[in-house]
Symmetry: C2
Subunit: 220 residues, 2 copies
DNA sequence: ATTTTTTTTTAGATTTACCTAAAAATAAAA
DNA sequence: TTTTATTTTTAGGTAAATCTAAAAAAAAAT
């Protein structure tokens, strides 16, 4: 199996691969908070072990093996997040760092029992889908709030930013998972969005609107 | 704070210190499954950091700081064991290795919430006491079954061996925590012990009897 | 009180994941 | 199409935790 560090690389490559198939050295370095030179070293190692396909100067892609390993880590991470929120009363902005550690505990039995204990949840506290033990999960294709038109409405079903600062803000604004929203207006000046939530009209910046995911219930 | 490895050293030194105040290099090496030379290196580091007092060739003793750090790890380990058994239906012989990993997760909040979630348990699945968040716990002074006399009786309240093989054997023999036992005879030939449990008479070897802890309910 | 055995330490290497500085390849701009 | 800028890699080095082999100290046996 992989080391703690290797697992983190795999996970990050997996996430980066969601937006651009070929993952670049610099992008990995930024996410790993390390230097590109270190990434090159690790990439070679991961390639040797068969987790990634690597062509010099061309970035990496995960192999099937690498993808499975990454999904397994994602599964663990998200299950632990559910545990922390559902059972230990953590708030959704408090779980990330702890789950980041828990995800590396190596025991299949542990994770399967945990999954069962939690009632086989389908998504984590941020709305991200939890892969089952075979690595399968429903592909969610939510719309970013920023991409909705005036008059559109929907339900908040996810976020694409897990920082504590962002999540706390959403909490304060009442923009939590499951809430119904509707777009009232888009401000010309700064592109900020006026939305209706729980009968209240609030204004959120473009930056915030970018990271809120909506399952749309049709136009108008 | 300490690294994963440093924590393991501290924990092992703490356990070894329970039987002999001055802990020797070789003893640590054996427990850590490493070589004495490596232990010497690590001891120096722990001494530099103020976790142990160390005099060359004289072994080590934990400082107050070292003892507190060790107790903290023991607390985590035992709480996780309770979690695994009580919530995830692990058996008492299956928890050790996983708890060995979980004990290194660094989050005070996590442990306090877990403690609360479990109902502030006082002992783990093997009968070992769980320190509270201030590191305090009742000193248990159980008698080893092997030290009882014919006619003595009591309740099984702990074990001093956590290997899966040993615990599985006890399970099979019905010698689990809380069971009442009585000493019927000690075999001259091999020192094995005949005991009465749940109205059945069974024979256990000296080796087994050494590792069963009894809270005695008075002689005869 | 020596000798022998055991325990512990030193010295010098190895591995993993990281670093800096400089070179090489690729991409973008003039 | 050169030049410039960006990205990536190489080369050589560091720190943590380990190792082996050999030396030194302490303990046990004669």
């Amino acid at each position: 199996m992989q080391s703690f560090t290797e697992e983190n690389y795999l996970k990050i490559i997996y996430h980066l691969a969601e937006s651009s198939n070929n993952v670049q050295t610099n992008a990995i370095a930024e996410q790993m908070q390390t230097k590109p030179a270190s990434v090159t070293d690790m990439i070679k190692k991961l390639a040797d072990k068969g987790y990634v396909d690597y062509v010099k100067y061309q970035g990496v892609t995960l192999t099937e093996k690498g993808k499975n390993a990454a999904i397994d880590i994602v599964r663990k991470h998200r299950l632990w997040e559910v545990f922390l929120v559902d059972k230990l009363n953590f708030k959704w902005d408090e779980v990330h760092d702890v789950a980041e550690e828990l995800e590396h505990i190596k025991s299949e039995t542990l994770i399967e029992r945990l999954d069962e204990f939690l009632g086989f949840p389908k998504s984590d506290p941020h709305g991200d889908p939890i892969p089952d033990k075979n690595g399968r999960f429903a592909k969610t294709h939510f719309t970013k709030l920023i991409d909705l038109q005036v008059g559109d409405g929907g339900t908040i079903t996810g976020v694409s930013q897990h920082s504590s600062a962002f999540l706390k803000l959403l909490e304060k604004l009442g923009l939590t998972l499951g809430k119904q929203i509707q777009i009232n207006d888009v401000t010309d000046f700064d592109g900020s969005v006026e939305i209706l939530v729980a009968d209240k009209q609030i204004n959120i910046s473009r930056e915030v609107a970018k990271h809120i995911l909506i399952s749309s219930n049709g136009k108008n």
